[in-house]
Symmetry: C2
Subunit: 445 residues, 2 copies
């Protein structure tokens, strides 16, 4: 009995002490603690204009492990690797859709290292303007050695990306903040054009971080609501000086000759280019060896061809930029990352597909670009390349968050508007659009 | 001859001196003068992210006088007023579409008075992010006592709003900066839903400052690109305290009973409401006398009805807000100003048209709102009313510029994207949209 009583006394004392400390904290220490009086509730109802302009607060969900490190573990397992006991030993595998890893890693940095980011991470969801869902959705697609829907290769692994997607939604639907604003304030990473494909209709209100809109319908994705990300480059940056003399090849391309949809232009380009002097155009699949060859090609050519793949975007464009190899873009529907701050005509040449496949046209055009112009393009490429370096502290990650933060006014508008909209007799979907009058130009050089 | 030679010497000296001063100025005084070396040209090609986030620079065109003060003069003339010799004596006539006057006046204030504005006025168009076209387009519509297209009333006046609109476009088309970016970076004020109606297709790339999108097609206007402005209130603000006891009327409406389109709901509302106790609903036209009566009604009623007019918006909503009379909005397609910072469910009640015209429904609903709830609405109205005061230094004008400045990232994106787009086989217009999934709720209280 005396022991129990002593315990009781200690507990009482401890709770009294912690209450005092708590009270003290609220009274003197924490200026930003929300005060729940009437007036302050008002303040949060009508977000003050200062807050909107200055600082965007993001909350990163603490997702069940299976959606983050668990995906890496499953990926390793299906390739026969030994399980690790410590998450910090897991290495996110190199691939072109690794923004999900860099963003996750960035938000996990200590806050004093993130002071110049456009978004501030907060631990209390109540304070947040935005909610980040860090599911490794692109890696999840390729956990099994084959693409989704096919049988798993390694008997020890039972992994289904589709089940993961469904499970994410199930988890989200139990979250208070997911329901609160119809998902408008949620940010999803789905960089691979197929990532989240099964549930995209249920997350489409959110800001989607994507490579392009090739697989999305107009009401699922647009550059008004979403953010186009660069692929992570797969070949090394060119570290030498600007110059044309060490680039003896005119044009370089290495990649899959046969693709679907817009990518059909590739075979036609092969036909007209494969016998041209100073042009290297060859079929190649993903491998360490072909990456080495591509690096050499991009570092020693003046121009690098970027035809559409299955969707309008491809990793190759960013490899070219970081190689200071002037991209020649033949992808009529491509959307480009960070286009509000980058004028791509200054760093790349755009040729429409119909013109590009005219025999002789492309080579003649590129040969007409003089050295002065080439150096100008290279200088401009040099100027913008930090935007495409995920590892650069002043690079891609910082710019992605800036782009996301710029969406906040429209997000807040949609949140407020959605809730007061009454039933209407609409003859078409309720969309607000930004339309271009331009029918497009034949070619831009 | 000696005189001429002296003159020559003086001129030479003067020009030498001014050249030195000029050089001195460029060397020491002006840190912001653009330096036209290669590197700085690059800087302006890739707008630095700091600039985009921090400060938005606007250039106001020095339009020919006929588009600004000339419109006031013509308006006065057609009403028989004596001509003034001095523009500063001209008084912009009070009307519900006077944002054009307040914005013009604001940009003409000395820069030290405008330091907390979201847009900084610049004198050099080369520095500008945005270009403001201060044509008094709404006043121009009503210069003649009758509406556009009808014969002028006063024989001394020869004024045609349509000719003014055409003439504005003609003038713009001679401007270098208008052509430079397809007009994306131009800001037009056309607050009256009919303002600029004849040329809106030619200015639609610009940011349009409008009351609603009732007369605009989807590719002409949307809240993604444009800014919804409040009408200038026409009755006096309520300056008394929050409270229900001095408001003995339940619901008030005064205005035109018969309107076109969505406004047809008005006659139905009259039918179900005109015999209700504590409800004042009466037909009234614009006059000083009816404004006085409306002021009294709005200041002594708990709720103020806001049915659609010919277009979804109307001045009355803002009169109600400033009267602390809780708006009851029956206008299914209304878009509201500043909805990213104002949650209108906290200050108004929204009822869809079909429900609102059910006999007995509206009155029963409003009688069910208890005093506690009414005071809460009033407190919220009090909190937001500054957004609707054009005269308040922290009011409408400041917020309009903040809204405009938020459009800059999308404007810059469209400028860059438009110029590199190649010819494509589009099956539908090239629009990027933000779509609401909501089919709308029956009524929001």
């Amino acid at each position: 009995m005396p022991r129990k009583s002593l315990l009781k006394q200690t507990l009482t004392l401890a709770s009294l002490l912690s209450f005092s400390l708590f009270a003290l904290y609220f009274t003197f220490v924490s200026p930003s603690t929300p005060n729940l009086t009437k007036i302050n509730t008002q303040d949060s109802l009508f977000r003050s204009r200062e807050n909107v302009a200055k600082e965007v607060k993001i909350y990163m969900y603490d997702l069940p492990r299976k959606f983050t490190y668990g995906v890496i573990e499953s990926y390793d397992k299906s390739r026969g690797a030994q399980p690790k006991n410590d998450d910090s030993l897991l290495k996110y595998p190199g691939n072109q859709h690794s923004a999900e890893w860099y963003l996750f890693k960035d938000l996990n940095r200590p806050s004093h290292e993130r002071v110049d980011s456009a978004v501030t991470r907060v631990d209390d969801p109540e304070e947040a303007d935005l909610f980040y869902v860090p599911f490794f959705s692109s890696l999840s697609l390729v956990v099994n050695l084959n693409r989704p829907g096919t049988l798993i290769e390694h008997p020890a692994v039972l992994y289904s990306d589709e089940e993961m997607q469904e499970s994410l939604i199930e988890w989200l639907e139990n979250q208070e903040y997911w329901k609160r604003n119809n998902g408008w304030d949620h940010v999803f990473i789905c960089q691979d054009p197929n990532a989240l494909y099964k549930v995209v209709d249920r997350v489409k209100n959110g800001v989607l971080l994507v490579s392009d809109f090739g697989r999305l319908t107009r009401d699922q994705g647009s550059f008004v609501k979403d953010v186009i990300l660069p692929y992570s480059h797969r070949i090394n940056s060119y570290l030498g000086d600007i110059g044309a003399e060490n680039r003896d090849k005119l044009l370089f391309f290495m990649g899959n000759r046969y693709r679907k949809e817009g990518g059909k232009v590739r075979d036609l380009l092969f036909q007209i280019l494969e016998n041209e002097k100073d042009v290297i155009i060859k079929h190649g699949a993903q491998s360490r060896e072909s990456r080495r060859e591509a690096t050499k090609g991009m570092h020693t050519s003046k121009f690098c061809l970027h035809p559409a793949g299955d969707t309008p975007s491809a990793c190759r464009l960013f490899d070219a930029i970081l190689s200071l190899c002037i991209p020649v873009v033949v992808s009529d529907y491509v959307e480009l990352p960070f286009e509000d701050v980058i004028d791509y005509r200054k760093v790349a040449i755009f040729v429409d597909s119909n013109t590009a496949v005219k025999p002789g046209y492309l080579v003649k055009l590129l040969r007409s670009v003089n050295t002065h112009r080439i150096l100008e393009f290279q200088r401009n490429l040099y100027e913008v390349k930090h935007y495409f370096e995920y590892e650069d502290p002043n690079g891609t990650v910082k710019e992605i968050w800036r782009q996301v933060s710029q969406k906040l006014p429209l997000i807040n508008l949609m949140i407020n508007r959605d809730k007061r909209l009454v039933k209407r007799d609409l003859t078409e979907p309720d969309c607000s659009c930004l339309c271009s009058n331009q029918s497009g130009i034949q070619m831009t050089l």
